[in-house]
């Protein structure tokens, strides 16, 4: 029993250390000292991120139960960055009287879910994978219900936990079928054993439901708008980017690694899912009045685009997928940053409330607009590049029609993104949102997002780095 191999698990260990420090600090800190838990968490997470931002060589631990390859470093760094930005944006909210008492738990639980995502992504075995995904989901329910005296938040928490457990129940049943058919749950072994007999297909589909649910593809998306609307805005952002991004990445690795022999089966499945996800989400997004609900549908359709990277199942697909996650993360978080600033100050979350925002808050609306443009794929913002690459990856595999459908949907999505731009810039309002002085952490987060939105595309080195490490 040689446990020293586990020391190689830098990422998880250091994150665990952060979690433990925060937990202990939260428990033992004095009333006064508790104030510092916010900067402490942010600093610790930043240190953790920086320390683990350098790719290493491939390795396996525990007989392949934990696998490492350099791309994981990137995706984890991206998720870390997202979490840091989330922490920065949530800072103000966490100082509210209603939640200040639980802020220690907020950091702790969020980091736990992050650790769960780590495990999920690094897993080389379905058991570890399942534990990872559950670690990411179950505490997430408590985060969603974090504003527990708020009916909406409580309701969203309940809906989330019920549907997530339902989905993971199906997923678990699928895993049991895989086990029953193949006799092992190690990814590397499974890759050789899986054939295209019906039981494997059924097992794969059942298993994938759990991920589809997290990615919130149509028709597994129905929880998304309700939960996004009800959850605290920071958590909504987290759900929409960090949780979703890692799930897509895992879907890619598992589908291409474990179910490589079933490629001919899962590609059509994804094809259909992409089409209906993007289309239906777009159709629903058009009618939304609540901006968080709106962002939910936006994120569903973005998930469809993300899956274009998965369906191409190539090195290009992987790199463009990771890059897309990166860009999507920063764009979406910028929007959620602005939403949370405004929501926190005025409690307004309807799109109509954004009318005339530019008159009073030009900078916030500018950031929002750039982020929306980035999501819609307008150059020179990063979203254009990420979209182009992911489309290129899909066309490389011959998915012309799919890309075409996706592009037509891009136009629809542009429509509803422009609705918000229109609200902010074009519509006049008698009572626009008052002038808001953004607090420093949120401002830092927005600036960070903005920098990435503008430069992540123009500077090719980011993509080149990712591309150099992608593999099938």
């Amino acid at each position: 029993m040689n446990y020293s191999a586990f020391l190689q698990l830098h990422d998880e260990l250091s994150l665990l250390a952060v979690i433990v420090i925060i937990l202990i600090y939260d428990i033992f800190a004095s009333e006064k000292g508790a104030r510092y838990i916010q900067p402490l968490s942010i600093v610790l997470l930043t240190v953790h991120t920086v320390l683990n931002a350098f790719p290493r060589a491939d390795f396996e631990v525990a007989g392949g139960m934990y696998q490492y390859y350099p791309m994981l470093t990137y995706i984890k760094t991206i998720l870390n960055a997202g979490t840091i930005i989330l922490f920065l944006q949530a800072d103000k909210w966490l100082r509210d009287d209603s939640v200040i008492i639980r802020r220690g738990e907020f950091y702790f639980l969020t980091l736990c879910t992050l650790l769960g995502l780590y495990l999920m992504m690094s897993a080389g075995h379905f058991l570890l994978f399942f534990i990872g995904i559950e670690t990411a989901s179950i505490p997430m329910a408590t985060l969603v219900a974090f504003n527990k005296y708020n009916h909406k938040s409580a309701e969203a928490g309940a809906k989330f936990i019920l549907s997530t457990v339902f989905a993971s129940g199906i997923s678990l049943y699928g895993i049991s079928m895989i086990y029953g058919a193949a006799g092992t749950l190690y990814f590397d072994d499974l890759a050789l054993l899986i054939t295209n007999s019906p039981i494997y297909i059924m097992a794969m589909v059942f298993f994938a439901i759990g991920l589809f649910f997290k990615i919130s593809l149509v028709p597994f998306h129905l929880w998304t708008p309700d939960v996004y609307e009800g959850a605290p805005t920071g958590i909504t952002g987290y759900l929409s980017v960090v949780s979703k991004g890692s799930a897509v990445f895992v879907l890619f690795t598992i589908f291409t690694k474990v179910f490589a022999n079933l490629t001919a089966e899962w590609q059509p499945i994804l094809y259909g899912l992409i089409v209906i996800s993007i289309t239906l989400a777009n159709i629903f997004a058009i009618r939304q009045k609540n901006i968080k609900r709106f962002m939910a549908y936006s994120s569903i359709s973005q998930a469809g685009y993300l899956l274009l990277g998965v369906i191409s199942a190539s090195a290009t697909g992987m790199s463009s997928l990771v890059y897309y996650i990166l860009v999507y993360l920063f764009s979406n978080l910028a929007i959620f940053g602005v939403i949370s600033v405004i929501e926190h100050r005025t409690g307004k979350v309807n799109i109509n409330d954004y009318n005339g925002l530019y008159q009073t808050n030009p900078r916030l609306s500018a950031v929002m607009m750039f982020a929306l443009f980035s999501l819609a794929g307008i150059p020179p913002f990063a979203g254009f590049f990420s979209k182009f690459f992911i489309f290129a990856a899909a066309t490389e595999q011959g998915y012309y029609v799919l890309v075409f459908i996706a592009l037509i949907n891009t136009v629809i999505s542009l429509y509803y993104y422009l609705l918000i731009v229109k609200a902010m810039f074009l519509n006049k309002s008698d009572q626009p949102v008052e002038r808001i002085t953004t607090d420093l952490p949120a401002r830092i987060s927005l600036v960070l997002c903005l920098i990435m939105i503008v430069f992540a595309g123009l500077l090719s080195s980011i993509y080149q780095q990712i591309s150099a490490l992608s593999f099938i």
Binding site: L162, S163, F206, I209, P219, L222, P268, G272, R287
Partner: protein
């Protein structure tokens, strides 16, 4: 003879300078500049004519001299538009005509337009017109001709619409432009066809008689006629538009809304003969390759001539009478060209046409200027506002009379000679046609003297608008006198020595029979007019009621305008444009909007999918899972 370039450049410069300066200069300065420039141009033209006719005759044939030529726009290695100056007998003759009439009009306008608002603009436009017209006649190639053709059209548009606050003037200018534009489309297509097969625009090559040029086109046919016929017919449509041949003549009477000197210059003497000139220019092609088109031209000309003369008899607006007379006379020229042969006596028609063009320009300008002088005095265009003016305006009266005699074809005035040649040629070609033309000549004499008597004789309207009519200032009289002099003597020019169908000079001789008959017919016309109109009597009204149907139809110009109005307003506006615009808004646009609406509709109708109940969500998840499984396995 590169100096000929200045004939073009000077008016252009004058236009640009006057146009840019606009109201910055005093009217007098602008007028002076314009007139001086035109004087120089006229002098240059005369010198050119002198030099050309004295030096270009080599081996008994007048040579075509290209005085100047540059490539203006290269389409490809074969086709390119050149701009240049081609001197040959007819172009030189035209130079003289245009610069003379233009100069006269310039001088005349100094008096006529005095005190008008936009005097500078007027002179600028005159310069532009002169430039364009000169450019047209010296064109070395058909495309250059087309370019200046268009420019002439625009100048005409601008000048007709000179009184732009008058709705009639605006409408008339618009009409003139659009009708000629429509005709020009034919011209353009004709050029396209012709140039495609012959690989050239150049007149020199086209008219050289080289059969190779037309080798590739001769076999081609389209809808039963040879392509070359199509091309030449289409080109003629362009000419018909400018020269107001039926049924494209409708713009010309309305064009009289412009200032009268403009009518004299453009709508009588120069621009309207552009069509004739063009046919003459391409005459060898017409004659050799498409005689059927040439004959068609003759018939169109004859019909137009008759038609216009008939209308002229009943018009009461003096300028309209002159306008229809112009149409009629151009018809004569067209007929002459149409019946002409090539070379020597055979080519009498050609020569006669050019000759008539020349003399007509002079006497018609004189008529118009005289009419202008009258209008200037009376402040009205209507005949019944006039009468007995000969006492008050002696100079105008005499010059007008000379012109009337000339157009009626009374010797020794110039019109007699030219018209006589035309009748001779026509008679030679077809006696029926010749007789028709003779009849028209009589009609011409009749309506001109109807006009003459109505203006200068009959009942006096002494006081008009509180003023007694008085003779015009010298600036206006001078051109009248000068043109009258020319009108008197121009018939004596041995025109055949200079202009002929093949460039070789020949002697014209009068056919005494035809001359006598035609003079008799003319005199009959005059006598008839004298009886009817010299003194006020009831006969004209009786005549009118006797032929009431015809009279009414002729007064209304045979309802051609109404037909046009019907076509434009009812068909183009109501039946084409409005439906298209409607279609665009309600079908195409609605389709595009419809896509958006369908999306939104779907969006609004799909709410039930998102019920808010967690069981429904789970239901969807499971159903999705099962369906995907089933599809993946069983398909």
């Amino acid at each position: 003879m590169e100096y000929t370039l200045f004939i073009l450049i000077l008016p252009l410069l004058s236009f640009v300078v006057l146009g840019l300066m606009d109201t910055k200069w005093k009217p007098r300065v602008a007028g002076t500049i314009g007139t001086l420039v035109l004087g120089t141009v006229a002098a240059l033209s005369y010198y050119t004519a002198w030099e050309y006719f004295s030096s270009a005759n080599i081996n008994g044939v007048y040579q075509k001299i290209t005085a100047f030529e540059v490539v203006w726009l290269k389409f490809n290695d074969i086709l390119h538009i050149n701009l240049g100056i081609l001197l040959d007998p007819i172009s030189v003759m035209m130079l003289v005509v245009i610069s003379t009439v233009s100069l006269m009009v310039h001088i005349y306008s100094l008096g006529y337009m005095k005190g008008e608002k936009g005097f500078e603009r007027y002179y600028a436009f005159l310069s532009l017109f002169t430039f364009s017209m000169l450019g047209l006649v010296v064109a070395t190639n058909i495309f250059q001709m087309y370019i200046f053709w268009e420019l002439v059209g625009v100048s005409s548009y601008l000048l007709i619409g000179f009184y732009y606050t008058k709705p009639e003037a605006v409408a008339a200018s618009k009409k003139a432009f659009i009708v000629t534009r429509f005709a020009d489309l034919g011209f353009l297509i004709g050029i396209l066809i012709l140039s495609f097969y012959t690989k050239t625009f150049d007149f020199g090559i086209l008219t050289s008689g080289d059969a190779n040029v037309f080798a590739s086109i001769s076999g081609a046919t389209f809808m039963g006629a040879s392509v070359l016929s199509w091309a030449m017919a289409l080109i003629f449509i362009g000419g018909a538009g400018k020269s107001a041949m039926f049924p494209l003549h409708i713009w010309l009477p309305d064009a009289m809304e412009g200032p009268t000197p403009v009518s004299a210059l453009i709508h009588a003497a120069t621009m309207v003969v552009a069509g004739v000139y063009m046919v003459a220019r391409l005459f060898p092609v017409y004659y050799v390759y498409t005689p059927e088109v040439l004959h068609g031209i003759a018939y169109v000309g004859a019909f137009t001539s008759l038609f216009a003369a008939t209308i002229a008899v009943v018009q009461t607006d003096i300028k309209r009478v002159l306008a229809f007379s112009t149409i009629s006379q151009i018809g004569f020229m067209m007929v002459a060209l149409g019946v002409s042969g090539l070379g020597g006596q055979e080519g009498t028609g050609y020569m006669a046409s050019m000759f008539h063009l020349f003399t007509h320009a002079m006497f018609k300008a004189l008529l118009f200027l005289g009419a202008g002088s009258i209008i200037h005095a009376v402040h009205s265009n209507e005949m019944n506002q006039m009468g007995g003016l000969r006492k008050y305006m002696p100079v105008t009266h005499w010059t007008f009379l000379i012109a009337c005699l000339a157009i009626a074809g009374i010797p020794p005035f110039s019109g007699f000679f030219s018209k006589d040649e035309i009748l001779a040629a026509t008679m030679h070609f077809s006696p029926v046609l010749g007789m028709t033309m003779s009849f028209i000549a009589g009609l011409t004499a009749f309506y001109m003297f109807r006009l003459y008597y109505n203006i200068f004789w009959g009942k006096e309207h002494k006081v008009q608008h509180g003023r007694t009519p008085h003779e015009s200032p010298f600036a206006m009289l001078f051109p009248l006198i000068l043109l009258a002099t020319v009108t008197v003597f121009a018939g004596l020019i041995p025109f055949g020595e200079f202009v002929s169908s093949d460039g070789a000079p020949y002697h014209i001789h009068l056919d005494p029979v035809i001359a006598t008959v035609s003079v008799l017919i003319a005199v009959t016309g005059i006598v008839l007019a004298t009886i009817l109109y010299r003194k006020e009597n009831a006969m004209p009204a009786k005549m009118a009621s006797a032929f009431s149907g015809l009279h009414k139809a002729a007064s209304n110009r045979f309802y051609i305008d109404e037909v046009y109005m019907f076509v434009t307003k009812k068909i183009i506006f109501k039946r084409i444009s409005t439906p298209i615009a409607w279609f665009d808004r309600h079908v195409i646009d609605a389709t595009m909007n419809g896509m958006a609406s369908v999306t939104q509709w779907t969006s609004a109708r799909t709410r039930f999918l998102q019920s808010g109940k967690v069981q429904h969500y789970a239901f969807a998840i499971l159903l999705g899972a099962l369906i995907i499984t089933a599809l993946a396995i069983f398909i």
